[in-house]
């Protein structure tokens, strides 16, 4: 495992182009594009203000930079550095901006969710979509980029509009049986739309592309409900994390619950491996067998940490949430399927330092990673069943079915990893600190072992 030198960034705006060739980072009001392999600066663009959002177009040709405070969006072309485009939303304001899947349209959501403005880079045409709903996830594009589902609210009722992204033609418009729609998500095959209600009611609705209601699922009533919803990449499972600290898995045929994953405070499952991160300040002993300590020789200045495997009955630290607060810190907030749909990683908010990995073939717990501090972010390798996570310290943690390692990020001053992103090839990883970033290259042969 190798690490690049450290680069500056701001607002954690750093993205690899979809084709995996370029790395765009924002530093204040500047946009820097580098070659991923050499890390040499290819282009440098200067925006009008501090950039609050940045994204690549799907064909990796354009970069969108949004400045929400100013209500501005600037688009840069990688092929023609002197080409420029500036979209001004004017006094109506801007809260969100995104590319359409074709990379030729920009969708801006105005302040107060008055409307969604669709700007075309091809024709300069502008079109409006009224009544977008301000919610957790109000817009979703299907994986193939053909359709867009948009949550709407009119006359105190929830609606979903399905647009054809090609020419923004309204394909379907239907009312949903929700009290207060909180989010929607297309299945990866683009044929089923999952819609869920706000946390006040446990309700998940499944709609076909043509607006037919396929199924409704509700696990319980009178308690805080859905917290997160994720499709498996195979579209076979729909995982629903809820405030009752459970994940329920629905199947794609009958849309019934296959199983549910509990997150108990004491783990008695002997088949699951519980990795516990142990920190120690002394130098590495000879009995330390973790590979990285030998290869890296990281006896610098920071505390060493390694994983220890705990025997079966393990108590997990649980933080009791304040029941009087809104959005209590309890329940499964993050769900992620591995790229092969084989594993599911979850995080329960009142056990913030623990990541759970579940096997979707055996429908059982595989591993539990107990960190010393709260887990900030975790992401699956887009190619392999390999999970990277960070906890806001100077270490990177990796889990794979073969085992678990913690790696010290060897940078001067210590890069506190707040967030991470896999390169689409799965060969490298971008580690984002507060103001810095660093690339981590995986050893190909190491992981083959």
């Amino acid at each position: 495992m190798n690490f690049s030198e450290v680069f500056k960034q701001s607002n954690q705006l750093c993205k690899v182009s979809p084709d995996g060739k370029y790395l765009a980072t924002c530093v204040q009001y500047r946009l820097v594009v580098r070659d991923v392999s050499t890390l040499q600066i290819l282009q440098l663009y200067t925006c009008l203000d501090q950039i609050s959002y940045m994204d690549w177009s799907s064909d990796s040709l354009f970069i969108l930079c949004a400045m929400y405070k100013r209500g501005l969006v600037q688009v840069w072309s990688l092929e023609q550095p002197d080409w420029h485009c500036k979209i001004d939303e004017g006094s109506i304001g801007l809260v969100s901006s995104r590319w359409s899947p074709d990379g030729r349209h920009i969708l801006n959501t105005t302040e107060f969710h008055l409307r969604v403005t669709v700007w075309s880079l091809c024709t300069k045409a502008v079109s409006y979509i009224k009544y977008p709903k301000a919610c957790q996830k109000g817009i979703d594009f299907s994986r193939d980029g053909c359709y867009m589902a948009l949550a709407e609210r009119r006359d105190c009722k929830d609606y979903v509009s399905v647009f054809v992204c090609d020419d923004w033609h309204l394909l379907r418009h239907f009312e949903t049986e929700t009290q207060d729609l909180a989010g929607l998500e297309w299945s990866p095959n683009g044929c089923v739309l999952a819609v869920w209600d706000s946390c006040l009611e446990y309700k998940v609705l499944l709609y076909s592309l043509d607006g037919r209601l396929l199924s409704t699922y509700s696990a319980y009533e009178w308690s805080l409900g859905v917290k997160s919803v994720t499709w498996s990449p195979s579209s076979q499972f729909l995982a629903i994390g809820s405030f009752d600290e459970k994940v329920r898995i629905l199947n794609h045929i009958s849309w019934k619950k296959i199983t549910q994953f509990d997150h108990p405070a004491s783990i008695n499952n002997t088949k699951a491996v519980v990795y516990k991160e142990v920190e120690k300040r002394t130098a590495v002993g000879t009995d330390d067998l973790s590979l990285h300590n030998i290869t890296m020789g990281t006896t610098f200045f920071n505390t060493q940490s390694k994983y220890e495997i705990c025997p079966a009955p393990v108590q997990i630290p649980v933080v009791k949430p304040d029941p009087d607060r809104a959005n209590p810190k309890i329940g499964v907030s993050t769900l992620a399927f591995s790229s092969d749909s084989r594993y599911l990683a979850t995080k329960n908010d009142n056990m913030a330092s623990v990541v759970w990995v579940w096997d979707m073939q055996k429908l059982s717990l595989v591993a539990v990673l107990e960190q010393t501090s709260a887990v900030r972010c975790f992401q699956w390798d887009p190619r392999r069943p390999r999970l990277a996570l960070c906890t806001g310290n100077t270490k990177l943690y990796l889990w794979s079915p073969g085992g678990c390692v913690s790696v010290q990020v060897p940078t001067e001053g210590g890069l506190q990893v707040q967030s991470l992103n896999w390169h689409c090839s799965g060969d490298s990883l971008i580690l984002l600190g507060k103001e810095q970033l660093c690339l981590c290259y995986m050893d190909i042969d190491q992981e083959d072992k």
Partner: protein
């Protein structure tokens, strides 16, 4: 009693009364009073008999007779009439009188016995009465208790009732409260939802208005500024929105939906086929398993005929299902499921039977069967542990090698740089070694000095020792000569107390051939342990004059020793005089005790 009475002569009747009365007394003390009264009546009557002024006197015999007769008549004893033997005479006609008396006696007896019986009866009755009374009182107590209990229960019941009533009222109020609260909540909910809706509507209106205003104002800023338009990502030109396009979109949508359904159907069909295959194989295997076993249990089972019929039916069904399996028809599926179910049932029955058999067998063979696998298991565990150990060692070795390699590579890279370091280090080390060497040298010098000193001392000691030996030899020599006493006295004069104390040393060196003696620490003990030679004895006697053993064993030489003692006392210095006196005194005492 009656019979006994008949045999007893009349004359003893009085005594008999006595006895009977006594027996009465012994029978029941409760009746004593009664008896006493009756008893007292006899002596009274007796005495009255003696007294002259009684019922009958000489004068009124006829009156008495007539009276008695009347009385007897009234008693129904009219047959026997007492007559005077001679009218107006004092004599009585004896036979009728005796007969009457006898009759009377009889009556009395009877009466007495009846009385007794009655008494007994009465006693019994009174006992029963007592018992009944006691029972009665007990029952009364019970009754009272029960009544009290009942009243208590009544009270508690009343209280409970009261409580129930209050609780019911409470419940009612609570229910009311709940209902009220629910209605309030519902009201609030509807109110809030209504409000929310109103707010939302207002917000929507505001938004509408805002957007209208923004549109109306012709916001100049709202604009897109593009250098030149870019082509579509698919390279095609954009086209107008037409009905045809809409239809196309619809078509696209349905096409994709259809594709999806087809795909899912295909996968389901594949899965179905797989499952069917598995099912078929399972069925086949089941049949295969069951068919050879059929004859043996059949013979044993009582209801084999029914089973036979069943199995026949199954087989036909199975065959038909196998035929129709590929067609995947509804009825075929039904049949297949049925046959599978039946076979499964049979298999389960068989398994249960096997299980019971196995358990029986196991109960017989349990001890041996239990032990063997455990041992094997243990062995396996041991082996695995060893393997793990080996692996660990291997890994350790590898790690060490790796580290070594790392180190060496590191050396190579910075060998030149390190050279200087190494020389410096070497120098340091040499200096350190030099210092150490110096120190050692000093130590050595010191030791040498010590050694020389020791050698000098040794020489001196040796010289002293030689002198001692010379004197000793001289002494010995002189002791052996006939004029011992004077010589010895003179020799002892010349020796100080110190030299005396060093005597054993000299002796030790002189008599090396006698290790038993030399090993002892004090001359006293040595003397006691070994039979001394004459010379030694002399010497010891000189050293310890008041040694009891010497005195006892060598009485014959006592004179000699005492004379030596005398000489000793005489010659020794002033401060030892007292000690000499004491010794002399003690010696004298000893002598006294010996002589006495």
């Amino acid at each position: 009693m009656e019979e006994w009475w008949t045999t007893v002569p009349i004359g003893t009747s009085l005594g008999n009364y006595e006895i009977s009365s006594i027996s009465h007394v012994t029978m029941s003390p409760s009746r004593q009073n009664n008896l006493v009264s009756t008893h007292s009546s006899f002596p009274l009557s007796k005495s009255s008999y003696n007294v002259i002024s009684a019922f009958c006197t000489e004068d009124n015999i006829p009156q008495c007779i007539s009276y008695i007769n009347q009385e007897l008549d009234s008693l129904g004893l009219s047959s026997t009439c007492i007559e005077a033997s001679s009218a107006g005479g004092a004599g009585l006609n004896t036979v009728p009188a005796l007969n009457a008396l006898y009759e009377l006696m009889q009556i009395h007896r009877r009466d007495m016995s009846t009385l007794e019986e009655l008494e007994k009866e009465r006693l019994k009755k009174s006992n029963t009465l007592d018992h009944i009374q006691m029972n009665n009182s007990r029952l009364k107590d019970q009754l009272e208790l029960s009544i009290r209990e009942k009243s208590g229960l009544h009270e508690t019941e009343r209280q409970l009732q009261l409580r129930i009533k209050t609780l019911q009222s409470c419940l009612k109020t609570e229910k009311d409260e709940v209902q009220k609260l629910q209605s309030i909540i519902a009201g609030r909910a509807s109110q809030s939802s209504h409000d929310a809706k109103r707010k939302e509507r207002e917000a929507a209106k505001l938004k509408e208005r805002l957007s209208q205003l923004l549109v109306d104002r012709r916001d100049k800023k709202l604009a897109i500024d593009v250098l030149n338009c870019v082509g579509r990502s698919d390279g095609k030109r954009s086209h107008w929105k037409t009905a045809k396009a809409t239809v196309g979109h619809e078509g696209e949508m349905y096409k994709s939906l259809l594709n999806d359904y087809e795909a899912s159907q295909r996968s389901l069909m594949l899965e179905n086929a797989e499952l069917k295959k598995v099912l078929q194989r399972m069925k086949k295997e089941m049949m295969h398993i069951l068919s050879p076993h059929q004859p043996s249990p059949r013979g044993a089972a009582a209801d084999d005929s029914r089973d036979q019929a069943n199995s026949d039916g199954e087989e036909t069904a199975g065959d038909s299902s196998r035929e129709t399996l590929d067609q995947s028809c509804e009825h075929a599926r039904e049949q297949l499921a049925n046959s599978i179910r039946q076979q499964w049932r049979k298999l389960r029955k068989h398994m249960e039977k096997l299980d019971s058999q196995a358990s029986q067998v196991q109960s017989q063979l349990e001890p041996q069967q239990e032990v063997i696998p455990r041992e094997a298991h243990e062995d396996e565990m041991e082996r695995m542990r060893r393997e793990v150990q080996q692996c660990k060692e291997f890994i350790q070795a590898q790690q060490q090698l790796l580290q070594q390699q790392l180190n060496t590579s590191f050396d190579d890279e910075t060998a030149a740089l390190l050279n200087d370091c190494y020389t410096l280090e070497e120098k340091e080390r040499l200096k350190e070694e030099w210092r150490l060497f110096e120190e050692q040298k000093r130590n050595f010098e010191r030791e040498r000095k010590n050694f020389t000193e020791a050698a000098i001392r040794l020489g001196r000691e040796k010289r002293a020792f030689e002198e001692d030996r010379a004197s000793l030899l001289k002494n010995q020599f002189l002791n052996m000569t006939p004029f011992t006493d004077r010589r010895r006295c003179s020799s002892s004069d010349g020796q100080s107390a110190l030299s005396i104390r060093s005597e054993p040393e000299t002796r030790m060196s002189s008599t090396k051939s006698q290790p038993v003696k030399s090993s002892t620490s004090t001359p006293n003990s040595s003397q006691s342990a070994v039979v001394p030679s004459t010379a030694e004895l002399y010497r010891t006697l000189r050293l310890i004059p008041d040694s009891s053993t010497s005195r006892h064993s060598n009485q014959g030489r006592w004179q000699e020793s005492s004379s030596i003692e005398d000489g000793d006392v005489r010659v020794k210095s002033k401060n030892r005089v007292r000690c000499g006196d004491f010794s002399v005194f003690s010696l004298g005492e000893d002598e006294n005790s010996l002589t006495s």
